[in-house]
């Protein structure tokens, strides 16, 4: 189990190093996430007054609702494409 975790951490560290290897690109990506949050924050303020029953589980607030929705949608997108993409990359690069 420890060996598996060590190998997993090697992959995560490699991905992190690849991501930060071009700092401007990395900052740009983080910036785009923050920009999206910023947009939805103001959209949430716009619809804050509307008492929608669907938002009851989120304390009546739109912002946590949309954040959770975006996070789940992103995770779903990654889960659906990452494995096939990495297998394809592994075959192309000769590591598989």
């Amino acid at each position: 189990m420890a060996l598996l975790l060590r190998k997993l951490s090697a992959f995560l560290w490699r991905d992190f190093l690849e991501e930060i290897s071009y700092p401007l690109d990395f900052i740009w990506q983080v910036g785009s996430i923050l920009f999206r949050l910023f947009t939805f924050y103001f959209l949430a303020r716009l619809v804050e007054g509307a008492a929608l029953p669907q938002l009851a589980a989120y304390g009546g607030h739109y912002f946590p609702f949309v954040m959770l929705g975006l996070a789940v949608a992103s995770f779903q997108g990654v889960a659906l494409t990452a494995i096939s993409r990495n297998i394809l990359y592994g075959m192309y690069s000769g590591t598989l």
Binding site: R14, E18, Y92, S93
Partner: protein
């Protein structure tokens, strides 16, 4: 007297079926290709072997089968007495596979970061595993540069360094001089010969081209 061969291949065959979605629908099958048929080969400890043949003759298939990257259709491979199909991890620990595929490195990472990643995959500490190898291959001055910025010869040396990280007993090289200019190719060959002498391990290289020069370097050349 050594009784166990480093690599023992018995009746090895590999068939590549011709797969196409249309054939699944029509149930009509086209015959595939036998890349290898009933190969029998022994490589003894301390021996260097070069396999020479034209394109499509199954050299890379043979090396990939020994490296346990492919499963044989028939036959068996023993690495220092371990059945490569039954105990692939035991076999892999004894093998160093030098793919000579630059794409298998990460261009945006430095040489050190690349080697450190592959060392960690082998459960090795990069700080301990990398220095002796890069020292032997004279790669110290390249470690901090991004991989994509290296010349083809340096990339090839990093490929060899990766294969040596876990100190394998048997080195498999798949056309190590491809795309190299004659000077770099000679350098890689010299390096191979030096490693073979220093380690007194095994070398198995597949090569495309004339075997005259190879006979000077290898004790056995198989066509």
């Amino acid at each position: 007297m050594v009784s166990t061969p480093a690599v023992a291949i018995q009746g090895l065959s590999r068939y590549y079926p011709h797969l196409n979605l249309r054939h699944f629908l029509t149930l009509r099958r086209q015959p595939g290709i036998w890349a290898l048929k009933d190969v029998v080969l022994d490589l003894w400890p301390g021996e260097s072997l070069c396999i020479v043949g034209p394109n499509g003759s199954g050299k890379t298939t043979l090396v990939k089968l020994i490296a346990t990257l492919l499963v044989p259709t028939k036959g068996s491979i023993f690495i220092q007495g371990h059945d490569a199909q039954v105990r692939p991890l035991q076999a892999k620990r004894r093998l160093g596979f030098i793919t000579c595929n630059e794409e298998s490195f990460y261009g945006r990472l430095t040489g050190w970061q690349n080697l450190a990643f592959f060392a960690r995959l082998q459960n090795l500490k990069p700080e301990a595993a990398i220095p002796p190898v890069v020292d032997r291959l004279k790669l110290e001055s390249y470690l901090d540069r991004r991989f994509f910025s290296y010349s083809t010869g340096i990339k090839r040396r990093f490929d060899i360094a990766r294969g040596l990280l876990h100190r394998p007993d048997i080195l498999l090289l798949d056309e190590p001089t491809t795309n190299l200019d004659p000077i770099s190719a000679a350098e890689v060959r010299k390096l191979g010969r030096r490693l073979a002498i220093m380690r007194s391990g095994n070398f198995l290289e597949v090569h495309l081209g004339p075997q005259e020069t190879l006979e000077e370097l290898y004790r056995r050349v198989v066509l």
